[in-house]
């Protein structure tokens, strides 16, 4: 069922190792990093929006107190 005789055969990819793993490597890297960056951007955005909202409510409270 498995096409390869050994792990080193698998890594060598019949001499095309550099090209095959260069393709798969960058793809895996991008598909790991992209969701992480999206999640980090989301956290930062939520924190910023919360700060802005608190600042706005404070400003409103000051205005009504005067």
């Amino acid at each position: 069922m498995i096409h390869w005789n050994s792990f080193s055969d698998f890594l060598a990819m019949g001499g095309y190792g550099f090209y095959v793993w260069g393709s798969f490597g960058l793809t895996v890297l991008i598909m790991t990093v992209e969701p992480i960056m999206v999640a980090r951007h989301r956290k930062a955005t939520i924190a910023r929006l919360k700060r802005q909202m608190r600042a706005e409510t404070r400003a409103e409270n000051r205005n009504t107190a005067e």
Partner: protein, 248 residues
């Protein structure tokens, strides 16, 4: 009003936001399952290609990435058309959420294509119709993102970006049919509806990888659109309520 399930309800960001949030883990999980199955078939089981040896295995990401780069663009153009015609809020957000993923898919298509072209054709790059039109697709994505980022008012940004998307959609059939219309170095399509030139395990490996990329794109776009929604709707009650509590 009746209680029947109503699809249009989800056109409102306040309703789509929790729905997308609930669906993300499923799309992510399905993507991983399809990806593992596709890699197993493609990298461990599928036989050697009689012409290209083991080098052909790049196909298992090259074709899914290329398909997604074109498909995501079509979806964005669809949202642009809806947005321009009906002035819906959600459409512009959807298009913006998809753009970076589409650009990455176009980039991956070119990158894996270069790594495939070098050993098979002896060149990383040639100015061939298929390759050039795919490069133009990458530029369209980048142009769309730069244009919408440069306009402060989201409504105007959506309109300008939407027009660019609709004009650029002409490039999609050019990419798709380039291997038929012109004499290109790029090989013709390996799969079509009636017959396929590939071994069965190769074909299934590739289709599973395509499903993996598809589900991945949906999951990431949903993650991104939720952030865009919070940002753009920050003055509405539903976002204020969310921000006051623990945002999910």
């Amino acid at each position: 009003m009746n209680d029947r399930f109503n699809l249009y309800r989800y056109a409102a960001p306040s309703a789509f936001y929790p729905l997308a949030g609930a669906l993300i883990p499923y799309f992510a999980a399905i993507s991983i399952v399809f990806g593992l199955a596709g890699l197993y078939l493609g990298m461990l089981v599928a036989p050697t290609d009689f012409q290209q040896g083991e080098g052909y295995r790049i196909i298992f990401i090259h074709v899914p990435a290329s398909w997604m780069s074109m498909f995501i663009y079509l979806i964005m153009a669809f949202w642009a058309a809806i947005g321009l015609a009906f002035n819906t809020r959600l459409s512009g957000m959807m298009a913006q959420a998809l753009a970076p993923t589409g650009a990455l898919m176009a980039f991956l298509s070119l990158w894996t294509g270069a790594l495939w072209g070098k050993p098979m054709w002896g060149a990383w790059w040639v100015w061939d119709a298929r390759l050039t039109s795919e490069l133009i697709l990458l530029f369209l994505y980048i142009g769309y993102m730069a244009l919408t980022a440069a306009i402060d008012d989201p409504k105007r940004a959506d309109k300008a970006g939407g027009l660019l998307l609709l004009v650029g959609v002409v490039n999609i059939p050019i990419i798709y049919f380039s291997v038929k219309w012109w004499n290109t170095l790029h090989q013709g399509s390996s799969v079509n509806l009636t017959k396929s030139s590939m071994a069965e395990t190769m074909l299934w490996g590739m289709l599973l990888m395509a499903m993996c990329f598809w589900m991945y794109s949906i999951a990431v776009a949903f993650m991104r659109v939720r952030t865009i929604m919070l940002e753009r709707e920050r003055h509405t009650d539903w976002v204020k309520t969310l921000l006051a509590g623990d945002v999910k």
